[in-house]
C-alpha cells in the first residue's frame, strides 16, 4: 500500500471570492452529497480516490448540475470529462488490469462494458447519467493521479492533476503541470501563479482556503469524511 498525504488548505492559496462565500460553497457541497453521495461513495471505494476529492471536482466542474454544459456537448455532465476520449480511457483501464470489479459492474449495468468484455463508445446519455459520469470521471482522474509527473519525493501533487484534468496534458499549462518547463513549478502556489487564469482559479477553488476540499474535510468532515 502506497500512502500519500495531501494537506489542505494550501498556505497562501485562497479560493476566489467570486466563486462564492464559504457558506455558499458548503451549501453546494451538501447538496451534491445529498444528491450523489451514494455514487461518490461507490466511486471512491472502487477507485481508492477520497470522497472529498471526487465531490470537490464535481463542485468545481459543474456545481452539481448533472446536465451542466451545452446540451450534447462533448464534456457535458457532473465531472465534465470528454466523451471523445472516454472509450479509449476505459479500454486502457481494462486492458491494463486496473479496472475494479465494482467499476465493471456499473459499466455492465449500463451496457458500456458488454458481455464479450468490449467497451462501446460513450454517449451523451451516458455522460448525463450521474452514476456513470462519476464512475468514469473517477477512472479518468485516477489515470492522471498515477502518472509519474503527479508524484515526487513529497508525494502526490493534486495541483498538477487538477491542472491537467482542466487544461489537458499537452498545452502550455499541461507542460507546466507535468514539470516539463524550466524553472519547474513544483509547488501548488508556483503552479497556480503561473498557469492560465481559469486553471489557476480551479487550483484555488480545490485546494485554497475556503475552497471545496477545505470545506469538505472540515465543516463537512462528519458527513463526507
Amino acid at each position: 500500500m502506497s500512502t500519500t498525504t495531501i494537506k489542505v488548505p494550501v498556505a497562501s492559496l485562497q479560493s476566489p471570492s467570486s466563486w462564492g462565500s464559504r457558506a455558499a460553497i458548503k451549501g453546494q457541497l451538501e447538496k451534491i452529497w445529498k444528491n450523489y453521495g451514494t455514487y461518490i461513495t461507490e466511486a471512491s471505494k472502487n477507485s481508492n480516490i477520497p470522497k472529498s476529492v471526487i465531490v470537490s471536482f464535481i463542485s468545481v466542474e459543474s456545481g452539481g448540475n448533472a446536465t451542466a454544459g451545452s446540451a450534447g456537448h462533448i464534456t457535458q455532465g457532473l465531472m465534465q470529462w470528454n466523451r471523445t476520449y472516454a472509450q479509449k480511457q476505459l479500454q486502457d483501464e481494462l486492458a491494463k488490469g486496473r479496472m475494479s470489479e465494482g467499476e465493471k459492474v456499473i459499466l455492465k449495468k449500463y451496457g458500456v462494458l458488454n458481455a464479450n468484455g468490449n467497451i462501446r463508445a460513450v454517449t451523451n446519455a451516458d455522460q448525463i447519467n450521474p452514476e456513470l459520469n462519476i464512475t468514469i470521471g473517477s477512472i479518468v482522474l485516477g489515470q492522471q493521479i498515477d502518472q509519474a509527473w503527479a508524484t515526487d519525493v513529497n508525494g502526490l501533487h493534486l495541483d498538477r492533476v487538477i491542472a491537467v484534468y482542466n487544461a489537458g496534458a499537452y498545452g502550455d499549462t499541461g507542460k507546466k503541470a507535468r514539470q516539463l518547463t524550466t524553472p519547474k513549478l513544483d509547488t501548488p502556489l508556483a503552479l497556480a501563479n503561473n498557469v492560465n487564469s481559469i486553471t489557476s482559479a480551479y487550483i484555488k477553488k480545490m485546494l485554497g482556503k475556503d475552497g471545496a476540499m477545505d470545506i469538505a474535510t472540515s465543516d463537512l468532515k462528519s458527513i463526507i469524511g
Binding site: T3, I6, K7, R98, G142, D146, T217, S218
Partner: protein, 49 residues
Amino acid sequence: MKSNKTIWWIVTGVALTGIVGGIAYVWYKSKKYKDAKANRNIQIVNTGV
C-alpha cells in the same frame, strides 16, 4: 588487437543486455502502473491554515 570473434561477442552481449534491460524496464513500469490503483491510499489532512 581483439579478434573479430571477440568483438562480435562484446557487441552481441551489450545488445542483449540492452534488450533484456529494456524489456525488464517496460515490464516494471507496466506493473507499477497496474498496481498503483489497487495500492492507492490518499490521506487528506486539513491543517486549518
